[in-house]
Amino acid sequence: MAKNQYQLVTCTINGKEVEQMVDVRASLTDMLRGDFRLTSVKKGCEVGECGACNVIIDGECYNSCLYLAVWAEGKHITTLEGLMGPNGELSDIQQAFVDEAAIQCGFCTPGFIMTAAEILDRGVYYSDEELRKLLSGHLCRCTGYENIFKAVKKTMLRRLGRLDDPYLNT
């Protein structure tokens, strides 16, 4: 590459409007980690298979490794950091991951939680089979899938007010 090509990107990250000059070769992962220090966005496979870099863009989940930073122009992006309250309080889904021990090494956790956040915000009741499919874009190499599933399902039941569901006692 003879000369580097830069472009100004204006977007909203975790509710805050930002401007950033980016190299056009950068992925959104590169921009979020390198320029904004949002290190919940993990670099895993970087080819869209593991889901560790997953973020929400305009309400839908994307692997930010397969998304060019310049495509973020005008978009609303949410990372795991954006789920926390103003004083660093954990959101219900983050707390559920803690309570269910749905974390071992923690590398896949932010990506999983962002997918869970998108699913749960729909306010829909999903069957176990549907939930498994909706969570299928993430790899956990500690293979802690069962507890991750539990954390998401319990949060779904609580949000939908199904507090007498026996699953919550498992």
Binding site: V24, A26, G48, Y62, L66, G137
Partner: protein
């Protein structure tokens, strides 16, 4: 960072055509779920890219003035599956693309990219072949339409003319194709998510008014040859025949006269032939049920 020599971002379809004429060596990128992966692998490293990601006019599903179902080329798999027109007229397409990759890939990947790749395993391709879809291509001299069968030239190559500045802008399903027609798709793969089809089978059926005769059955396969293909001998066997399990059995067997799968590390030729016969039967039985027929 991606190893690209330059990025040209199209702001409109006209702009994309002009960029293509100005940079004939550049690769078009839409959702990025294939092109960027190939760039990482080194296959497309160092290439220039023309991004059409921002052409929002190419997103969405509608019925056009000729009653064609029109799918904009940049419509994501997720949006196809969730679209009410798709669910009403060609539900099987929504089901087929709901098996691509995983949820995040289906949010990013586009039906235009899935077809322009020219890959036989693309989950949309067999269904689009089975429904005789038409590809709308826009270039410097305007729009031309190509039947999807002719759009695929050979493995990895489709009928997009760089010298004309062409890009794919929509996929059309004519009313004559979707009217009173019901279809089913089976993706045979090793895993449920993040896997490529060992074989893809898409069948659709239109029954006579009394639901006793196959008025029109069409079937197409992915990974049964170098490009997606129809099984025309099987179709001509079944069409006009009574709706019976015996005829469906024979339809499945006849598929072997049409297809030409290969041995690969994913599966042997013999295994692909076996699942082709079985999938053809199961898809047709399901299509008959959806069409209100009895077996």
């Amino acid at each position: 960072m991606y190893d690209m020599s330059a990025l040209y971002e199209a702001q409109s379809v006209e702009d994309a055509i002009a960029l293509r004429l100005a940079h004939p060596e550049a690769q078009i990128i839409a959702g990025g779920t294939d092109v960027l992966v190939q760039m990482r692998e080194g296959k497309r490293a160092g290439k220039a890219l023309i991004s059409i990601q921002k052409l929002d006019a190419l997103r969405g599903v509608s019925i056009d003035a000729e009653e064609n179902l029109r799918i904009g080329s940049l419509t994501s798999f997720t949006h196809i599956t969730g679209d009410p027109l798709i669910q009403q007229y060609i539900n099987v397409l929504g089901q087929a693309v709901d098996l691509v990759g995983g949820p995040q890939i289906r949010n990013a990947g586009t039906i235009g990219g899935n077809t322009c790749n020219g890959v036989t395993s693309a989950d949309s391709a067999s269904t689009l072949h089975a429904w005789e879809a038409i590809v709308e291509i826009t270039g410097k001299n305007g729009v031309r339409r190509v039947p999807i069968h002719d759009f695929y030239i050979k493995a990895g190559q489709v009928d997009l003319r760089v010298e004309e500045g062409e890009i794919q802008t929509a996929i059309l399903v004519p009313k004559a194709s979707y009217d009173r027609t019901y279809g089913s798709y089976i993706k045979y793969a090793m895993r449920n998510a993040m896997d490529i089809a060992t074989l893809g089978t898409s069948v659709n059926a239109r029954l006579s008014v009394d639901k006793k005769t196959f008025e029109r059955v069409r079937i197409a396969f992915g990974v049964a040859g170098p490009v997606p293909m129809r099984a025309l001998k099987a179709e001509s066997f079944i069409n006009g025949k009574p709706v019976t399990l015996a005829n469906i059995e024979q339809f499945g067997k006849t598929v072997l006269e049409d297809i030409n799968p290969r041995d690969s590390w994913r599966a042997t030729k013999a295994f692909r032939q076996h699942i082709a016969v079985e999938s053809a039967k199961r898809c047709l039985i399901e299509s008959v049920k959806l069409a209100g027929g009895e077996l």
